[in-house]
Symmetry: C2
Subunit: 340 residues, 2 copies
Amino acid sequence: MIPNEYRQCVVASRPEKSVTLDNFRLETVSMPELAEGEVLVRTDSVMVNPPAVVALNRGVAQQPPVPVGSVMWGQGVGAVVASKNESYSVGDRVVGPLGWAEYCVIGGEQLPNLRHNPLPAEIPATLALHVLGASGPTAYLGLIELGQPKLGDTVLVSAAAGTVGSLVCQLALAAGCTVVGIMGSDEKGEWLSSMGVHHVINYKREDIRARIAELCPKGVDVYFDNVGGETLEAALSNLAMHARVVLCGATSQYSDSGPFKGPSNYFDLVHNEATMRGFHIFHYMDRVPAVAGRLVPLLMAGKLQYKEDVLEGIEQAPNALLRVMKGENFGTQLVKLAAS
Amino acid sequence: MIPNEYRQCVVASRPEKSVTLDNFRLETVSMPELAEGEVLVRTDSVMVNPPAVVALNRGVAQQPPVPVGSVMWGQGVGAVVASKNESYSVGDRVVGPLGWAEYCVIGGEQLPNLRHNPLPAEIPATLALHVLGASGPTAYLGLIELGQPKLGDTVLVSAAAGTVGSLVCQLALAAGCTVVGIMGSDEKGEWLSSMGVHHVINYKREDIRARIAELCPKGVDVYFDNVGGETLEAALSNLAMHARVVLCGATSQYSDSGPFKGPSNYFDLVHNEATMRGFHIFHYMDRVPAVAGRLVPLLMAGKLQYKEDVLEGIEQAPNALLRVMKGENFGTQLVKLAAS
C-alpha cells in the first residue's frame, strides 16, 4: 500500500563550522507519479556516516555538495514498491543512494547507482551498506592490498571501533599482525579487546603519541588512518622503517570547510623510507562484489564481527549525523525508516 | 710540505631562524700530532648544500646537530698527507666528511666514513661529491626506483637546476618522460631548456600552481620534491591518478627550526590514489657504488650534464651556504681550499 505522502529530510543550510540540527529540515511531500524508466523505492534503512559531512560541504565521489533544498545524501537499503523500469519489479530488494527520505524515486542518471541487493535472505539486508557493501571492501583493499601487512607486523588503526576501522582490526588480526586500535571510549575499547585487538588507546583521555610509542616499541608497520589531524601526526612520529600509511579518511578534518591540517611531520616519511598512500573505494567499485564475496566466509566464521547502532524514524537522521561526528555512536549508525 | 697551522670554520652559534654569517667563526689552529690509526687529509674542495642547515639545527644522517665550537659539517674531497693507518698512504685521494677546514684529522669512529675516491684520474675528483657521489644515486634511486616513471609520463621536479634536481630532470628525459622543472631564475631555466627539459617554471615570478595546471593538463605522474612548502602543495593539487610523489628534500622548511609546514591538501593523495614516498640516500649507502657505476656511461655520453659553482678559500664557506639557501648559486656549490 503506497501512501499519498511521505517524509524526507532536506538540506536547510550549509554548515558554517560543525554540522548542527538547523542544517536540516523535515518535509512532508506528495507521492510523485512515476515517469517512464523510473523506480519507486521504500527506504527501509539509511546509513549515516562521516562522508555525509563531506557531501554537505565539499561533495563526495566527485559530486558537488548536496544543494540546499535537496534531499540529504545517504546510502540506504529498501524495496521496490512501484516500477516503470523493466529491470526492477515490485518487491525487489535494492541498495543505493536513497537519501534521507522514506521513499525515493530513482531514474535517469541515478539508475546505475541503484543495485539489486546481492545478499541472500539469511544475511540481514543492511549488511549491503557496510560489511558487505563498501566498508568491508574498503577495509580489505586498503589494509591488505595497499597496507600490505606481513605476519608479525604492528598495525595501528584509528577510529578503530568505527565501521571500517573495526573491520580493518579484524582483518589485521586474521593476517597475523599485532593490532593497536585508537578509539574514543572505554566501552568501544572493550569491544575491540573482546575481538582480540592487542592494545587499545582511548584518545579522549590518553596521550596518543606517548601511548603509540609505548605500545609499538618497534614502530608502526602499517597505519590505517580514518581521522587525520593530530592522530595522523602521532602515528607518523612512530613509524617503523618502510612503514605504509594508508589514508582512508580524515574525520577530524571534515567539519571545518577550510583547508585540512597537513601533517607537519610528513618528513618522517623520509626518515623511515615510508609510504603514504591515498585510497578511496570509489575508484575500486568494479572490484567490490568480488572482494565482498571473499569476506563472506570470514563473516560466517565469526571473524568479522560488526555492530549496528539503530535510531528509528526519519526525524532522527540529523541527530544520527551529530552523534557520528561526536563519536557517540557505537556501531554503524543506521536510521530505520520502515520494517523491511 | 705540511704547514704548522691551518684554518677552519667552526659553528659559533646556532641559527635562530635563517642562517647568518655570525653563526660561524674562522679559526687558525695548530697542526695536531697524529695518533695511531689516524689519517691527516688536506681538503681540496668541500661541498656546501642545504643539508648543511639541517646539520646545524636538527642533525643529518641520524647524528645530533654539530656542537657549537666544532668544525662545521661538510663532505669534501682531498688527499692524504700523513698517515698512521695502514689502509691509507700519503697521496691517496679520498672523499668523506672532511668538514669546513683546510686540514682534517680522521680517526676512530669517523674512519669508516672516509673512503678512497673511486673515480679514475680522468674524471674530476669533485664528481665524487655529487654526480658520482650521493647526488647521482639519489636522483636515480628516487626517480627511477621509487618514482617509477613510465615512457610518456609527466615528471615534475622542484629545485630543478639544483645538484639533484638537474640530474633527476636528465634521467627523466632519458626515460622518455615529459619533464617540467621548477627553478628560481631564468638563467637556470635556460640551462634546463638547453638540456631538453620541456617546460620550466620560475617560482620567483610565476604562479606555480596555475603554471603546473597549464603545463601538465593530464596531471603530474611523478613529482620529485626537493623543497616542500607551497611548491609541494601546488604539485599535490595537480596530480594524475596513481601519481607518485617522491619526498627527497624540503629546502623551504630547513631554515626555521620549528615544525615543517605540512601539506594541507595531502588528502589529494586520496582523490588520486596517489603515493607519497619518503626517501633518503643514507638508507641506500650500500647501493651507491653500483648505481654510480650505472651513471658513468650516461655521463660519458653527455646525458648527465652538471655545473659547479666554485668559491675559493675557507673564509668563503659561510657565504657559500647563504648563497645556497637563497638559491643564488648556479651549479653544485663548492668551496675550493687547495689546488688538488
